[in-house]
């Protein structure tokens, strides 16, 4: 009897917490397709707000996708060899390097953005292009790629694979390309999903780094929250949800949230 009561109380509490998190998200999805949110759903459903978002902000959506894919490209080219090198060395030097590349996670994005602005603000062509945002995103998401690949290297016997291929006469580059990278595929996939999700949603850095001509999706969102009617802001948020939900589902399938918080985004 008492156990039953405790169970019910905990269940009710947990459901309330879940409601606190989900109800606003559901409201925003609903508001994005409601004719007049103030009058409620009875006013009718419409796609006009989504269309309006598309007309006003489609450039931010494309730019965010381009930046996310470019960030992925940079983190792949930089992160996979780095993880391989770090795994092979595993000494004081590699631990220091790992510490440095994880630092961008530990300090607020605002500080990193300020640092980039103070250093490169004078190079106006670079400052004005989307590559400036790419630089920030790459530094910020890199540790997720490196750690994700390192985790796989820790689980498989890289040394034996590497030596096996070497004894067959493969050059270091061929061993890396044909043996190491394919074996690291699960970590590369998990890291890639994380990098793209993080880049698509990144705001703290991007808000400081963007110019009126290089607005990204989250920057546009902040803009719409401040200046648009609630229905438009909601429709825009809906677009964002539609973009990240497949990534989250894929992450759940391939990486598994349950493996612990090592690989969790902000």
């Amino acid at each position: 009897m008492r156990d039953r009561l405790i169970f019910s109380a905990q269940l009710l509490f947990t459901m309330l917490v879940a409601a606190f998190l989900i109800v606003p998200a559901a409201l925003s999805m609903l508001a994005g397709i409601t004719l007049n949110y103030f009058r409620g759903i009875q006013s009718g459903l419409t796609l006009q707000w989504v269309v309006q978002v598309w007309e006003l902000y489609s450039d931010t959506i494309f730019r965010s996708l381009v930046i996310a894919l470019a960030t992925l490209g940079v983190t792949l080219v930089v992160g996979i060899p780095a993880a391989y090198g770090l795994h092979l060395r595993s000494d004081r030097f590699s631990r220091a390097i790992e510490e440095i590349i994880t630092l961008p996670l530990a300090i607020p994005g605002l500080a990193l953005a300020l640092a980039l602005l103070l250093t490169y603000g004078g190079f106006s062509d670079f400052r004005r292009s989307w590559l400036f945002i790419l630089a920030g995103h790459a530094v910020y998401t890199l540790p997720f790629m490196v750690r994700s690949v390192l985790a796989v290297f820790g689980a498989i016997d890289v040394k034996t694979l590497d030596e096996g291929a070497a004894s067959l006469g493969a050059s270091p580059w061929r061993r890396f390309r044909d043996v190491i990278v394919p074996n690291a595929a699960p970590g590369i996939l998990a890291g890639s999903l994380m990098v793209v999700t993080l880049s698509l949603g990144e705001f703290n850095l991007t808000w400081m780094l963007h110019t009126p001509l290089t607005k990204t999706l989250p920057v546009g969102l902040a803009d719409s929250y401040a200046s648009m009617r609630l229905e438009v802001a909601s429709a825009y948020t809906l677009v964002f949800f539609v973009m990240i939900i497949p990534l989250l589902v894929a992450m759940q399938i391939f990486a598994g949230y349950r493996r612990g918080p090592t690989v969790l985004p902000r």
């Binding site: 780095a82 607020p108 949230y257």
Partner: protein, 271 residues
């Protein structure tokens, strides 16, 4: 190419990227922090200037309140979800972790929908009590926003820790006649302590550095990241903004280092 040379070559792209876009800019930030009229004293301004000190106090209190509240919520729900399996269990877990990927601005918007001028709580209180409660733009709204992005992170850490607990200890306590509350207090909570400290530190550091949520809610409550932002963009007080962000970065880094020494892993400090 020899193996040694190849491994060294593997670090080249990393060295270029990290030096150009992280190490050098951070060094510059530290230097700029000391370059204003006040020189190195800018670094002490956060403690000496009464206005900044009040902001620091606000930020730390808010972060502490967020940490405690999310630890309490996550321990109750995390224990429950890890110990019981029932219909809709995985749906509930998915609902509690879904907001993990929300940027801080979106979290702010969620709070506006909940407690803003056209918010749900306002409608409910209008029907029930005849007054419309709007608190999204106040300290309570900010607290709710911070809670919103902290709960999912903390719950995951707690659930992972509960999974590793040894159930036989609890059974032993129960057979010795301990009440459910005593089992929680004397067996479960002590065993969870490292996870609580680690996830609490992560929640605290995240709340200290959160910018997007405060930005969207545009509250009149001054928090440190908003202060840095306004000093930089509105007052053009660049040296002070740099000094403040170096200080904030050191604090969040130190707290996350503490978390890691308790077995937690540092997660992006933002929101």
């Amino acid at each position: 190419m020899s193996k040694r040379a190849f491994v060294r070559f593997c670090f080249v792209p990393l060295a270029v990227l990290v030096t150009a876009f992280f190490v050098l800019p951070m060094a510059r930030l530290v230097l700029v922090g000391a370059s204003g009229d006040q020189g190195l004293r800018a670094y002490a301004a956060i403690l000496l200037d009464p206005r900044y000190r009040a902001t620091l106090f606000n930020t730390v209190s808010l972060a502490a309140a967020t940490t405690i509240a999310s630890l309490v919520v996550a321990t109750i729900s995390g224990l429950f979800l890890q110990r019981h399996r029932f219909l809709g269990h995985s749906l509930l877990v998915a609902m509690l972790t879904f907001p993990l990927a929300f940027p801080g601005v979106v979290v702010g918007f969620m709070i506006i929908l909940l407690a803003g001028r056209q918010g749900l709580l306002g409608d409910v209180t209008l029907h029930l009590f005849g007054t419309k409660e709007v608190f999204a733009y106040s300290l309570q709204g900010l607290f709710l926003g911070y809670l919103y992005f902290s709960i999912p992170r903390v719950i995951l850490t707690i659930m992972a820790a509960v999974e590793k607990l040894d159930p036989s200890l609890e059974e032993a306590a129960r057979t010795l006649g301990a009440s459910p509350w005593r089992v929680v207090r004397d067996v479960i909570l002590p065993a969870l302590a490292p996870a609580l400290i680690a996830s609490g530190a992560i929640a605290f550091a995240t709340a200290m550095g959160a910018f997007g949520t405060a930005f969207t809610l545009a509250t009149d409550v001054a928090v440190l990241p908003m202060l840095i932002y306004t000093e930089f963009t509105l007052s053009a007080n660049i040296a002070l903004a740099a000094a403040l962000s170096v200080g904030l970065g050191l604090v969040t880094w130190a707290i996350l280092a503490l978390a890691r020494s308790y077995g937690g892993t540092s997660i992006a400090a933002a929101g």
